[in-house]
């Protein structure tokens, strides 16, 4: 459907040293996503506009940007859902900018590891695969915390991250909680030690900005509350 209507779009461009918004008029389309808009600008107006995307269907978690002040997955956010007025598209908050809309995700993934986000097997490949009963409390809790696509939207929405350099953030702690509930995992003690430390779960103020922005409707605040209980119990019992 060709259209003569256009959308007013402002896209932030720059690098770690600063930048500014530049304005474009992008042809309006039916069912147009924010990512479609950014792609149109890159292909038609600003060839060196830098942004990141891969799957375009909400699986890979690489296209998150700040749209009208809120972190969003741009491939699955329709222009019509982004609010009134001109579209303002910027890189994610709380992460260093490399160029334009692309952030350096290093600290995000370093914290993922720091919080104990790497599975530690309790058996070897020669052992039988442990059976996990889907009706257990642990499995239900793990199920609520998986499906994270590492888009860093929660990390970008979190004020505790903004105010505290060392804080692991919602995604990493949510991952930790999913592993705490994995009966095959052998890393519980290290994980709870990390959660109980200065970068850990006790920095969370339960504002639920993470939960209200998560595109996959996960609730990291719930996971972090679980970590708080588990870490307190472990501390009282002298396990950590």
């Amino acid at each position: 459907m060709a259209s003569t209507e256009t959308i007013d779009v402002e896209i932030w461009q720059g690098d770690a040293n600063g930048g500014a918004y530049r304005a474009y008029a992008v042809p309006a389309q039916r069912s147009q996503t924010i990512l479609d808009v950014v792609t149109w600008v890159q292909q038609n107006a600003e060839p060196d506009l830098t942004y990141r995307f891969a799957c375009r269907v909400g699986m890979c978690g690489s296209c998150a940007m700040t749209v009208n002040g809120k972190p969003r997955w741009t491939c699955r956010t329709h222009v019509s859902k982004a609010g009134d007025g001109p579209l303002r598209i910027a890189p994610l908050r709380n992460l260093p900018v490399i160029k334009d809309l692309v952030c350096d995700m290093t600290e995000f993934f370093d914290k993922w590891v720091g919080a104990g986000g790497v599975f530690k097997p309790s058996t070897t490949r020669d052992d039988p695969i442990p059976a996990i009963d889907p009706s257990t409390v642990e499995r239900a809790a793990a199920s609520e915390a998986i499906e994270c696509i590492n888009c860093a939207i929660c990390y970008s929405a979190c004020d505790a991250v903004a105010q505290n350099d060392g804080y692991f953030g919602p995604a990493a702690l949510n991952r930790s909680w999913s592993l705490i509930n994995d009966i095959r995992d052998a890393g519980r003690t290290e994980r709870l030690s990390a959660a109980a430390g200065t970068g850990g779960c006790f920095n969370c103020h339960s504002q639920q900005g993470c939960a209200s922005h998560c595109p996959n409707l996960l609730n990291p605040t719930l996971s972090i509350a679980g970590l708080k209980r588990a870490a307190v119990k472990a501390k009282v019992r002298g396990e950590i």
Partner: protein, 110 residues
């Protein structure tokens, strides 16, 4: 910034204070009716072991709770770190404790 020890101290003092705050609010709403006077306050509190324990516990819990709260705000909002943060937090807690216990003594000692 908050580790498990500070978190526990914050939450335990909060739990201790919850019933004390309810008591304090109830006394305030009761006592303010018909106007306050120094005599009325002191008549209630002077020589009372119960009020001494009530407000003594309240002051202790509030001093710890507020010191940790101020610590979190100073770090998150003002970016104060390290020794300065410890001094601010401990100093504020000590100030509240000393002033608070002095106030309790003032109203309960006959």
């Amino acid at each position: 910034m908050l580790d498990v020890r500070l978190y526990l101290a914050q939450r335990i003092t909060a739990l201790v204070m919850a019933p004390l705050v309810i008591g304090h609010l109830a006394v305030m709403i009761y006592a303010v009716q018909g106007g306050l006077s120094g005599a009325e306050i002191l008549a209630r509190t002077q020589g009372s072991v119960l009020w001494a324990l009530f407000y003594g516990a309240f002051v202790l819990a509030a001093a710890i709770h507020a010191a940790i709260g101020i610590r979190a705000i100073a770090y998150e909002v003002a970016g104060i770190k390290g020794t300065a943060l410890n001094l601010l937090s401990l100093g504020f807690g000590a100030l509240l404790l000393v002033m608070g216990l002095r106030a309790v003594a003032a109203v309960v000692l006959p």
